[in-house]
Point group: none
Chain length 400, copies 2
């Protein structure tokens, strides 16, 4: 569904929509039991939602496509992730709560090791500690050339964020990271005429950084990739007429919400924390995105049992959410992270929506197999928002 069409159809209403994202929700069967994480967990409240709501499985980006966190969330917010793409540099900035300004150009940086001839011998500089990274980043502060300031912040291990700030900058600059060892870093190069000035600024930054890092045993050079600017997308307020809030413990997810105009709200790591934040701000917003990370972290760690426990902990928080009586309550994930794969995956993601006009479809449990029988079938995640708006009585009739 095109955002332009939705914009025409959305109307204001006195209804509240809550979207709970259990990160990496979907799973795969444990080889010993044949049951997925959801099938293993005791989740009576989610099962009850499945019995009362309209159910299905979402496809975040497309069949077979494993989404990163950006595309997975943007789809749920109603923004086609193939059309609305976030650059790596911007995502890094979101992830550390860096306040990107319009016109800033962000890039993901790696400290790396080069030999005396300038050839990369370790793209990750021996995976130096985060503390060491912070010390090295301090060495790189204050670099400025031709009116362009280079702002740097440590991220984790060998990773840092570079933000160029100044007039007339462009993200049209190619990666300097050749993605392989045994090569020299690539010289900064504009990919379009408007990137020339930025490429020169990057060149100066890299030269000065190399000079300041000289003599370091491991981290004696930098690699940059994913030059990108904060996108200027239509906000959820503009498109959906929703005052939206992003309730998340990790900055990345508040940041993804901010990209579409959500107001970030603080939270703790537990779903109860997010719900407490929700309760405090209940009157101020129409739409709440609640993010819960523990399911994904356990999945990424390949820890089946911890993912089961994370699901059970989320389930226990559901009654507190129901007490707020949202008009539309959705529980889903941004993608699957099966513990047996220890990574994000392409598998469709469990979805339930509870609302007054949701037609219960006979699903008896909240898991990958049972929800398949739901009346939404296997459907694109980008369709979640129009469905939520409809159930919140926020879409008018199309055509006469």
């Amino acid at each position: 569904m095109d955002l332009e069409l939705l914009k025409e159809l959305t109307i204001e209403a006195d209804t509240k929509i809550v979207l709970v994202v259990l990160d990496g929700l979907g799973g795969l069967p444990h080889p010993e039991t044949g049951r997925t994480e959801l099938e293993t967990a005791s989740i009576p409240n989610l099962d009850q939602l499945a019995r009362e709501g309209v159910c299905g499985l979402t496809v975040p980006v497309g069949p077979g496509i494993t989404p990163g966190s950006g595309p997975g969330h943007l789809a749920l917010f109603g923004y086609d992730p193939l059309r609305y793409q976030v650059g790596r540099g911007v995502l890094e900035a979101l992830g550390i709560d860096f306040d990107l300004q319009p016109g800033d150009v962000a890039a993901r940086g790696n400290f790396c090791t080069v030999d005396e001839r300038g050839i990369i011998t370790d793209r990750r500089a021996g995976r130096i500690s985060t503390e060491r990274c912070a010390q090295l980043v301090d060495k790189l502060r204050g670099i400025e050339a031709e009116g362009v300031r280079a702002l740097v912040e440590p991220v984790r291990e060998h990773r840092f964020l570079l933000v160029l700030r100044g007039e007339g900058l462009s993200h049209q600059v190619a990666d300097t990271d050749p993605q392989r060892e045994g090569l020299a870093p690539l010289p900064p190069r504009a990919t379009a005429p408007e990137g020339e000035r930025t490429a020169r600024a990057v060149e100066r930054f890299v030269a000065e950084a190399a000079s300041r890092l000289q003599g370091e045993p491991e981290a004696n050079m930098v690699l940059l990739r994913g030059f990108s600017s904060c996108p200027r997308w239509p906000t959820m307020r503009e498109v959906f007429k929703l005052k939206a809030a992003a309730v998340a413990y990790y900055p990345m997810y508040r940041g993804l919400g901010k990209l579409v105009g959500m107001e970030p709200l603080p939270s703790g790591p537990r779903l109860e924390d997010a719900i407490a934040s929700l309760r405090e701000n209940w009157g101020r917003f129409d739409f709440f995105f609640l993010h819960y990370k523990a399911t994904d972290t356990a999945g990424e760690d390949g820890d089946f049992q911890r993912k089961v426990q994370a699901l059970e902990a989320a389930d226990r928080a559901i009654p507190a959410l129901l007490e707020l009586e949202p008009d539309v309550l959705m529980v889903t994930g941004d993608h699957s992270t099966p513990a047996v794969m220890a990574s994000h995956s392409w598998h469709p993601v469990p979805f339930v929506m509870r609302a007054p006009w949701a037609r219960a479809d006979g699903c008896q449990a909240f898991n990958e197999v049972a929800l398949r029988q739901g009346s939404l079938g296997v459907f694109p995640a980008v369709d979640v928002m129009p469905l939520a708006l409809a159930h919140a009585r926020r879409l008018k009739k199309f055509g006469a």
Copy 2:
């Protein structure tokens, strides 16, 4: 999913994908038993695949659209059949293993009967025998004009293949077949300026053919349609990074594989023959398309029982396929050919994929009704390739 996007996401891997196409697989219930061909057949091995794999029904081209062999296969190869269209002339050439060269223009020819005024009285020249067709085609060999050679080959009954070979040819020529009796053949006409030269060559060919056929009691004229050139599409190697092989008994299907860069491999008519060819070439390729025709032939003949037997024969070959331990094994069809219709049809086609990370979805049998409950739902056949690549761990994550 756009081929350009898939091209960006595909990576090399040491995994093997096998796609078994049981031609015309899907069926409809026999009026006496209420059971389809698949529901009637004893197919324990396919049923076992359905229990272990991820299941669904594919829509080859679009809802309600009955595909020819070209679109049905191209969709399964990952090429949107609405975008990647093969001309009738090229299909005829593929069907008789004619080695089309770049720049050749192919057309489907019919021998027809015209009266003394040149009006068509029989568009199929009384459906002359294939032997007679071959004799008449011999009469037409060696026609050449203005540096353009006209190559002709018999096909079947009144059908033949015309291939124009020379410099600067174009497929921009309209059919000479008016598709109705009681009219004269249409004069060859360019549909764009670049077709002018080709239209003149066609005119010469038709005039010379009419002259050589003069006095024939039935086949005294030719009709031409479907002028087309061999398309230059991105190959499966370019897009999917797959070394692919087409294992098929009939040249048409090897030819369809060649269009997307598959290497053709010989086979006999049985699925066992294809598997034997597969085994011999197992080390050389990453992707194997195996074609089995008997199901479609029986369906086209309206022979329900023979289609049941063809399914059972295919089923018996499955264990030999499993012994090769493909990472991803898919069994499906290019379209449905219900015996009760005695023709291709638009009905969605049974599909199963068995792979380590395929989430079994509780389907208990391989047939049109049971597979409907699979977690892939009813889905476009063009999505089969991205799903196969994902399960073969040949797609990297989209977005960060």
